[in-house]
Amino acid sequence: MSQQSLVEHIPGLRRYARALTADAWAADDLVQDTLERACSRWRLWLAGTDLRAWLFTVMHNLFISEVRQLQRRPDWGRTVDVDAVAHELQAPEGAPGSLIDLQRCLMQLPLNQRSVLLLVTLEDMSYAEVAKVTGVPVGTVMSRLARAREHMRALMDAPAQLAQPAQPLLRVLK
């Protein structure tokens, strides 16, 4: 395992984080935290296991715990209108509108569907790899992926105003 192979995974981690959070700064913070956590837990990485899967697992767990912390904050539950922050979505110069739209629809998926769909498409992971990273059984990955695709297609086919969150994007869990 060379130094090369570790660094090679970082652009992939950045892209996944950006698609997950729709925020370039938050995404890089997440990658930074992931690398710090990986440094402190290096001993827990077992030789011979897949480095990419390990890094994505560390990131997944960090992200989930960050979201849970956010949920405990009193202002959690205020809705975020994705269109209002569309300019923050950091689309590259001249990016086709469809990509911004894609990101907007992604943000309307429940987190567990969004992460499964992104791992499969952006990282080309198999069901087994996604199951490992997200810590759920393979069967759950399959059903989440199916629901994510169905959900996305419905969102993207819908007229723009229907693509607004039908329910608050961020819900208070009681």
């Binding site: 930074q32 710090e36 590259p92 894609l102």
Partner: protein, 238 residues
Amino acid sequence: MTSSAKPTDAADQALDAALRGLHREVLAEPLPAGLRESAQRLARLQQQTASTRHWGGMAAGVLLAFSVGWLSHGQLGGRLDNSAAAQTAKVEREFVRQAGFAYAAYMPEKRHPVEVAAPEQEHLVQWLSKRLGRPLKIPQLDAQGFELVGGRLLPGEGGARAQFMFQNSQAQRITLYLGAMAPAAANADNQSTQFRFEPDGPVPSFYWVEQGFGYALSGPVSKATLMALADAVYSQIH
């Protein structure tokens, strides 16, 4: 169902293709300085680990040379035949593996890291000595910055095992795991004491066997620090 997560439906294929293009430009961007530094630090740790593994065999040889100083009776003892030696090595590896698992299980505990805490040290020693069937001594590692947290009783292959936990001011924890070895190692290894280093497992450990009793000192510290701690433990309990 296949293990591939690729869709067969045309609409899904189009969706997946669109998603694959999402934020593609990030892949080609140079890394921000902060990320690059962390990545380099992680890569160095990774390389250290890899080279420790790679040179593990050689390190064991070097350690063996040093270990002459550790021999309790100043002799290496009679040569074991190969199969007995292999059997012994296997039992010892199993011992240190269990020590690693016990460390991983109790190290993160906030409320119940130990069954009997340090203030009841006298009771702890009496209780565990009785259960392990020999008088135990708890080493003092205060000079190395580690204070006793307490101890607990654990099951093991050759009988009951004890785990003593120590902690320093940075809340780093180390454990001393000890107990009777399964018979193969206990019989074969009654003449010599060798320190061995186990870099793998949940946490690195130094371990040794003496008079049928195994000892493993485990902690997420550097090899040199762990060796110094093992030295302190060994000299105090013998």
